[in-house]
Symmetry: C2
């Protein structure tokens, strides 16, 4: 049976969706991270292979054999020509790898789509490759594509150079504000006590140990964003100003994409993805109000499908020559 | 001959001054970094030992033998009781280490001073342990001490949690502003071209490789601050707003220390140390104007002596029971 693979490869896990040529899901598999830039090509390939394996096993509960005729891989950090070559080599190895399962590969080069993760998030979130995705989790990026197939990306420069409005930035701003309150530079905020309590710190000085000496990375720090969200939802002014700043950055990034590739009076779907939108302090509502103020006809939606399904839809488009 | 050691141990080098009991310098030695938290205790100890060795060798050109009766170590990142214990252990190992040079140790516990680097920078900078030091290089910290021996520290929370007004923060703000200009969010700035040129980037996207994939650390990033300074001195508005923000942070930190331990109408010496003050764009002048606006009687000075000499002066104070 002719099948299509959609793969969402990120910094924490890899998801594979297998679908038929009518976009019906036949199976789904998950594996570990597949960011080859941080973990190496072989490790990334093995995770992708594992996700595909899982997906095909579930599919083979319903069908007798699998003939893969299109594939789309949406991968974090993949945008440069050099990256494309690396991923192409991985795909060709996938095709040649022996499998005891009844799987065959019949991939024409034009039916292999390799793209960055924002595009499959847009495709999955909207259900079509037109609109804007505002992704804000550990990091942040805003990406849009219009009917003329023009694209515009804003942000996504990572935790040092950008990621404005992300969980990482909110968490760092929260800690900075708490330390400023603590050492007398800033206004009092409940963030001081909340951070100490959450992290079990005897003194605020011990935050240094947690952040610099315990091998914490971007994800661990970003995971503190809910403390700022919680404080904001309880009315803490400093926490709310941090959330306001995050919203402002997400609005600027979104309107930059909007102004570049859409008319301001166009009906455009904007899909919000990522953990930041799930907070209690009304961040999403405030974002939506601010965006609709500027662009009355846009529609901010929650994702309709997951990015891996979006990747499958993109592969289908490639198959129909519609990409 | 009775001698005193002053040691300035930092993240990039260790400096040892050996002086007589009239504060006259007899020798000076340099070695590598001695930040035990990042490099380990043994490596730090060996660098401190090497700096002492160099200093004593130069001193022995003038005198026949050395009897060390007081020592002060001012070390970056040392402030917690646990740190003190580690350094005390290092000092006792130093005393017991065999040396072919004619050196003896006669250290009473009260003549061993262990402190953070801001205190020796104040002591060296002012020539006395009263005043405020505004240190802004790769990182930043403001530290003050008054005649009543009360101290106040503001900032110094490191590159993630703080270091407002530092070279690292100025450099990061410069790159963020350049990327915002580049992706359409921000106003145009010459920082885009200047960064590309300086780093030899074909496209601005390649900045990601430089910052995340080349193993760059805080120091390498902070070393880009002069690009922002240069652009500001040439009139670039965005670069100037970054410099203004840095000045604002340094002024807030300084006035916080001032308000905590001094009267606003007191004559206080404020010593500026670190690379940030050496720029071309008038950062120091703007800082001085802003501070004198608030505190007409303060006097912003350049360092009179280096921190290692300040450490020696502190050891002398301990010796005279005046600490």
């Amino acid at each position: 049976m002719n099948c299509i693979l959609g793969i969402d490869g990120g910094g924490s896990k890899t998801i594979c969706i297998i679908m038929d040529d009518a976009a019906k899901i036949l199976g789904r598999g998950e594996a570990g991270a597949s960011n080859y830039q941080s973990m190496g090509i072989e490790a990334a390939q093995s995770q992708i292979q594992s996700a595909i394996h899982q997906a095909t096993i579930t599919a083979l509960n319903h069908i007798n054999n699998i003939n893969i005729i299109a594939i789309c891989l949406g991968l974090a950090g993949v945008s440069r020509p050099e990256d494309m070559e690396v991923i192409k080599a991985i795909v060709s190895k996938l095709q040649n790898s022996k499998d005891i399962l009844p799987i065959t590969w019949e991939l024409q080069p034009s039916h292999i789509v390799i793209c960055h993760d924002a595009l499959i998030a847009l495709m999955g979130g909207v259900g079509d490759a037109v609109g804007i995705v505002v992704a804000a989790g550990t990091g942040s990026i805003v990406f849009g594509r219009n009917h003329q197939r023009e694209t515009k990306r804003v942000g996504g420069w990572g935790y040092i150079l950008g990621d404005e409005g992300s969980g990482y930035k909110i968490a760092v701003a929260g800690m900075q504000a708490a330390l400023k309150a603590y050492d007398g530079r800033g206004k009092p905020t409940s963030l001081v006590e909340n951070l100490q309590q959450h992290l079990g710190l005897e003194r605020m000085e011990n935050l240094i140990e947690v952040i610099y000496r315990k091998g914490w990375g971007v994800k661990e720090i970003a995971a503190l964003a809910p403390i700022v969200d919680q404080a904001a939802s309880e009315g803490d002014k400093i926490a709310n100003s941090i959330i306001d700043e995050a919203i402002k950055e997400l609005v600027i990034a979104t309107s930059t994409v909007m102004d570049h590739i859409f008319d301001s009076n166009q009906v455009v779907e904007i899909v919000s993805t990522g953990s930041i939108w799930l907070g209690k302090c009304g961040l999403r509502e405030r974002f939506v109000n601010s965006i609709i103020d500027q662009y009355p006809l846009v529609n901010v939606i929650y994702p309709r499908y997951e990015p891996a399904y979006g990747a499958g839809l993109l592969a289908l488009k490639a198959l129909s020559g519609n990409w």
